[in-house]
């Protein structure tokens, strides 16, 4: 197991290196000249030249890339060209917001998807099954940004049940930071009003973000459950007198969830993609909105860093998924 994990982690490096080359090459091809942008709105031609020199933008591309690699290898992802702040610091500050959103979405996704999928499979071809199937196809066809806007429109703007934006009310001071996850921090500090506010704020973004994944999980759970229900061990247990509901939970469910878990890695990718627009629409201060902001300002160091960080997280999540998979499926141990 340990060897397996180590091997997987080692296999990360070539991918990350490739990623660095890829993103750097892309950004090198960008038509807009970072030096002009850096020099500012009122810069003169000499100013621009000076900036170019200062940032090493006049050196050959491989030298620039080499400089960058050297920095990255010591854990320095560079400084934002706009704010002069270390990118890693900004990412670290914003990561908890995204993690919180992603975790809550994952939980919604798992609970909702597995429940729907199970109901659909157990009551195969019943109205519940039809609803499950409708949700599972709709979830893959609905545009996350549109869903976000519609939920925001109906539940926040018109009905006013939930806040329109942000993680906490604007006038509120965030709970004391322990983990950076407001839901957790507010509980740990027994700050229940903050907890309530945090829940209200995260509800719409999390539901939006969870919807597509929920559909996938429901779909996988349903089909895998249907398949598992035809398995010999089900009819065997049934034949020995174990009641049907008892066979479903926990026995068939565990087998079906294993299949669903293998999809979590893939889902995580769509979760990140979704987070980009969801965070933007709900003003959620995570790395998704950070990336959108960097793209809008052509802050290439930030784009580069976020892409790398997302790539690394994505790969790590896939490793974690593999490990979880191995843990719940004894055959793989």
């Amino acid at each position: 197991m340990l060897e397996f994990i180590c091997r997987r982690i080692l296999s990360l490096f070539p991918v990350i290196l490739g990623l660095l080359v890829l993103t750097y090459a892309l950004l090198y091809l960008a038509p807009s000249d970072p030096a002009t942008i850096l020099a500012g709105e009122n810069a003169s031609v000499e100013d621009i030249q000076a900036v170019r020199k200062e940032y090493g933008l006049d050196r050959p591309v491989y030298v620039q890339f080499g400089m960058y690699l050297k920095q990255v290898s010591v854990g320095n992802l560079g400084v934002s060209m706009y704010s002069n702040r270390p990118v890693l610091e900004d990412i670290a500050q914003r990561l908890p917001a995204t993690i919180e959103l992603a975790l809550v979405s994952l939980v919604l996704m798992a609970i909702g998807g597995i429940t729907l999928g199970t109901m659909g499979a157990v009551w195969h071809n019943s109205p519940i099954d039809h609803v499950t199937r409708m949700i599972s196809v709709a979830g893959l066809a609905i545009a996350t940004f549109w869903l976000a806007i519609m939920l925001q429109l109906v539940f926040a703007m018109v009905l006013g049940w939930f806040p329109v934006r942000g993680r906490i009310p604007p006038e509120m001071v965030p709970p004391v930071q322990i983990t950076g996850l407001y839901l957790l921090d507010s509980i740990l500090t027994l700050n229940f009003s903050a907890f309530r506010d945090a829940v209200r704020h995260i509800t719409l973004p999390a539901i939006t973000l969870a919807f597509g994944g929920l559909a996938t999980v429901a779909r996988f759970t349903r089909s895998s459950m249907l398949e598992n229900l035809t398995k010999e061990y089900v009819s065997y247990q049934h034949a020995t007198g174990v009641p049907f509901r008892r066979i479903i939970v926990p026995y068939v469910l565990r087998n079906s969830v294993i299949t669903a878990v293998t999809q979590l890695g893939l889902l995580f990718g769509s979760l990140i993609s979704g987070a980009v627009v969801v965070e933007m629409i709900f003003d959620w201060p995570g790395i998704g909105s950070y990336l959108v902001n960097a793209i809008f300002t052509s802050d290439y160091k930030v784009i580069l860093a976020v892409t790398i960080v997302v790539g690394v997280i994505y790969a790590l999540v896939n490793i974690i998924v593999d490990v979880i998979h191995a843990m719940i499926d004894p055959r793989l141990r």
Binding site: V15, G18, L27, E227, G269, I303, V310
Partner: protein
Amino acid sequence: MVVKKFSRDLPATFGLIVVMSILTVAVFGWWLVSGPSDVYDSNLLARLSPPSAQNPFGTDDLGRDVYSRVIIGARSALLVGVGVVAASMLIGVPIGLYAGYTRTIGSEVVMRITDIFLAVPQLVLALAIAQILSRGLESAMLALALTYWPAFARTVYGEVRHQKTSLYVEALEGLGASPFRIAVLHLLPNVAPAIIIRATIGVGFAILTAATLGFLGIGATPPSPDWGLAIAESRQFLPESWWLALFPGLAIFITVLGFNLLGDGLRDILDPKLRRSR
């Protein structure tokens, strides 16, 4: 037999009908609207009017008819979907065939490159690429194709690897057929069902992602009646002018739904081995 099986699959039939309708709308869109003036010309006096008999989907902030713009938007949406998938196939399928069939350093390298592309969520990578290209629908399409081809490469690679062990390939190799011949004339037709399924669902997916790029302001450009762009433009008029966001979104939803259902149906027919899961 196939037709009968398909027609009994209600969702797939629905999908086919939707896709055919969208195709019709895309081709004959101009017959369904009263003219280019409704689509492009501003009418500042009638701006932001709610749905009515005259403007069934209301008007936008420049007074243009939302219905006409949604109808005309189908063409570019479809063009993007099909274009991206076609381009991705052009890149991905040969790469997948090559890497799957040969076992050389080259195929290893190619598949590692594929891994790198797959190591970042597609939208993030597409955003980064589209961002450096000049703005416009073509750039968005290019960005999507450049990030979507690994999906095809993977699919074909997997299928070819699977087929390669079959007896018929060994037999052909024994007969001294050239690798190129085997790959193109024999393997390709056998992996075609997988490609077709992937492509059908891919069209829906590409439309969805292109709309997202348009929404983020790096896809289609005004004044083209792009659905994603329209939703982005609608935001500042919410909640009052809800129709601006509702109808283009529904159009995306129905179109993508149609392609997904059709893809599912095709999967059931073309590849009964694959589960109806994804």
